[in-house]
Symmetry: D2
Subunit: 318 residues, 4 copies
């Protein structure tokens, strides 16, 4: 697998970690999920992110999941989330993932960082821990992580650490931040950097127009992300928005903090991609009412995008 | 003006506070804004909420703004946000607002509350401060206020305080909370309570189906809120969603924390309702790029909803 | 009253706001408290700080309290805490206090500030609001305010705003911060700045040795603060520590977050300085067990410092 | 080793994890530290707590450290901190520790818990994860963990989970909480529960008088904790306070958040108990000035307690 570079672009799916109903890791579903992402045309997959329930795995399991994805992925690049409360754990997973062939790793800040210096210092130490030769993605996700990066702090981290090749952008609001970073590059103060956007895709339409290189998020229809990224790059603005808007009611429903993963796993199960929608404890359930709401949204999306016209669950999963 | 009761329903607009470009309160725009809400059919207006920049006003100004809205509103009910760091300030504004004819007040929790007992105790003391005869709205908005109410805590507050007549529901995710509260009423453990939903309207379609009585939020097209509430109550599910989905791209854009108010004021200014989109310091600006994005969204909404077909700003504001 | 300058030094007492048992402001106790601070030799008094229950006062009351202290103080400098959720309220109180003769004002950051730029920008706007001619104290109190200032950010604020004349230092741990700021002055990057330390005096012994100019805190024996500041400036290290250590068990007891104010008011009442130890709601009570613990600590302090040998409460307050 | 029960009492030292200067685990110092705790008379030792830099160890290292302490401890009970972001990691360490002979485990809540139900639910799931036969200690430490337990919530957790045998009490302020819990036991609503107190020992004098069973904290002179616990139990109040007060200046210095561990390791190194005061990254350093302050405090303590009369570092560590 080729290593991640600042020229990375397109759509990287954020993969959930499939579990059996009893909480064991479902390796067959990992394989099927990896194949699915490859078939629909993802450029890469990010595993063991926040939505991948990474903290619920012990160290051996995390390694096992990462390697399983990497081995199955063939040409697709796999990025492994290695965020951890301590650098020893981060380093161990990073090295094992890279040895297995991962394209790079992703690091989120611990929630107690406050000042600019604390943030900059943390990533300097993280890079020392994993080694300066491991390409890595900086995750900027204040809603969940409660750490706020200014554009200047991101620039400082990127310029201090040549191995930082990508920003996973999911500040909210975040459009002006993309413009600010691209502005830094125009004035020569920031080197090339891939910017892929998250937040469930909720602003992907305009993020692309602001200069993002693509999407990195877990919406259960990665095909939509791929299409919007492509249409936007082709300059087909209205077409990109038309398709995006058709999915937006479901994107919005899936992007509910805490509850969203259950929706996502439910849809992926309906699509026949994973065998069970189970989460490890502590996890959020999806109620019967919520399922029927998702089904209704799927039916509405399907009026414009046939790919949302899912078979009933029994046959799809059979 | 009639006082607020648990049978309140429909659409209550959350009003921004209009300022002149130099930061003075714009009383003429208050009048025009009030008339606008009445003309489009709002059932009420909530003033001096979080989006109303209430903390930026001093005590005399807050009173002045509240009374101006109340006096102008005629038949529409006005709810006055009286949240304050201390009970003396809260009490003073509540009493003056009610004397002027307000229908009720709204109280949000201070951000330092953590335990269930702290939350319940706080509202007990707040009610003692404003008096048990003042109808009030409980604001449940964890994203901004960082205080988390369980359904049981809401029930306890409502049952302990007969003057609590309404919940401004804006937890996120929040659909199951509406179902839980309506379930409490079915099992007889919760008395009648109006539930109006906020969050910029982002989930209004399903909130109505879960049992909400209406909307209380500041989306710059209250007509849309009114229509979705009505269609949903009439059982016209597809029609409600069709109209909602047409506006969703703009609703989503307006519901960006911190940045949303600038969008809202920009649209209301474009609609000719307020003279200036200025915010008092510290306030977020709206960039030229963001304005063009909003204009683009408005044009797209207008394909399905002619009310979004706004005149160019120069003539509308003239 | 002379205005506050960067050469301010000595002991500034943080004054509680005296209330009657029913919650009304007790103006006679304000007078007696002011006289008491003058008699024991305080260089100044800070009113309406966090421990002064400032947020519980409405705007008119805050003004009334500030002016009462100022008028009574004669030669002692009065600093008025003007922190507020909005600049209109801050400005109003600052101007009225300065008009009445206050020496300066104190400003704490709102708790939502995170990045260095947000902090620096906030104080820039605050200075614009109160006017550049009003001397002010920067309050650095992360434990309660959850805003973290690096030494560099403090330097930037001080250098950007000539009217900032003093730091109320109460970071915890904070000794190295004093050394860092004094180091900035040695290398010429920071102009003269008064540093008075808070935190209930818990580290006053070493703070003086690190370069603090004095104490600004509310320990119920300001005489102790005055003596330790003086002994330390005279280079009598052991004597300073001996006296400090005699009081430390009580200092420590008084410096309990939330509960400390009740202890402080109880002791000041025992000393006959204020008529009632009542706090406005919501306030913490002091239990009978806690009172007996404080009495025990006072008796122990009195073995080395006769000033702690208080009369029984009945006669002292009579 | 006997398992932990609700009748546990006395002094449990919170052990730091000794590292070599290069960050590797120092097993010889673990042995010497364990022997030291036994020699001075500790009833038990808690390892891999927050002060034990537990999050900086990877899973294999955590297991290695826990087992090393357990094997060396002989008659002293070892409690292993097993707090982790996920239950799989918690379970793995708990089982391995208990298999090796640990007396019990300690669990702190993750910082995102807010409501009473969330807290209660979390510990229910944690007990399911580690098994209902593993005795465990509930850690109540809001200052660092930002989770607030009411006495009622603690009671509910204890009554729901028979394997919860001890509370590590370090709320601040916390004296009334001890009284409340002991009151629950008097009214029959709470079963027997060991309460050991932390917070560096800063309130140990009064905590014992309020009903604590002993101390569980990491002050570098566990002898002092042991003596105060004993004197207090013997009813020798003044003697307990006299000894406590002699150490309080140093206790206070060591109880600085973040900075305290460096002080503690420095003193333990001076005492010849651990070979290096190094912390794993990211860790706080101790400056030369701070070292001289600690040396000064030690010399002052030694006037009343000869055990603080330490040899110069070179000979002690030689």
């Amino acid at each position: 697998m080729t290593k991640l570079t600042p020229s990375a672009a397109g759509t990287f799916a954020i993969a959930p970690t499939p579990f059996h109903d009893d909480g064991r890791i479902d390796e067959k579903s990992i394989d099927r999920l990896t194949d699915f992402y490859a078939e629909v045309g993802c450029d890469g997959v990010t595993v063991l992110g926040i939505l991948g329930e990474a903290p619920k795995l012990d160290a051996a399991e995390a390694e096992q999941v990462a390697i399983r994805f990497v081995k199955r992925a063939k040409n697709m690049q796999i990025i492994v989330g290695v965020s951890a409360p301590g650098f020893a754990t981060m380093r161990a997973l990073a090295l094992k993932s890279m040895d297995a062939g991962a394209a790079g790793v992703m690091i989120a800040p611990p929630p107690n960082l406050r000042t600019d210096d604390q943030i900059i210092g943390y990533f300097k130490q993280a890079v020392e821990a994993i080694g300066t030769d491991v390409p890595w993605v900086l995750q900027d996700y204040p809603l969940t992580l409660s750490v706020v990066f200014t554009p200047s702090v991101i620039r400082k981290i990127v310029m201090d650490n040549p191995s930082c090749v990508m920003l996973k952008h999911e500040d909210w609001p975040g459009l002006e931040k993309i413009s600010a970073l691209r502005g830094f590059q125009k004035d020569g103060s920031l080197r090339p950097l891939s910017i892929l956007t998250g937040n469930g895709g909720l602003f992907l339409d305009f993020e692309m127009e602001r200069g993002a290189d693509g999407a990195m998020t877990g919406y259960a229809f990665p095909e939509l992300l791929i299409d919007v990224v492509r249409l936007s790059k082709e300059g087909r603005r209205d077409a990109a928005h038309d398709l995006f808007d058709a999915h937006l009611p479901l994107i919005r429903y899936e992007q509910q903090p805490g509850a969203g993963l259950a929706v996502r796993k439910y849809v992926l199960q309906k699509r026949g991609v994973i065998a069970s929608s189970a989460q490890r404890k502590p996890g959020a359930n999806i109620t019967a009412t919520a399922k029927s709401e998702v089904d209704y949204l799927l039916a509405r999306v399907a009026r414009l995008d046939k790919r949302a016209n899912l078979q009933p669950l029994s046959s799809a999963a059979g």
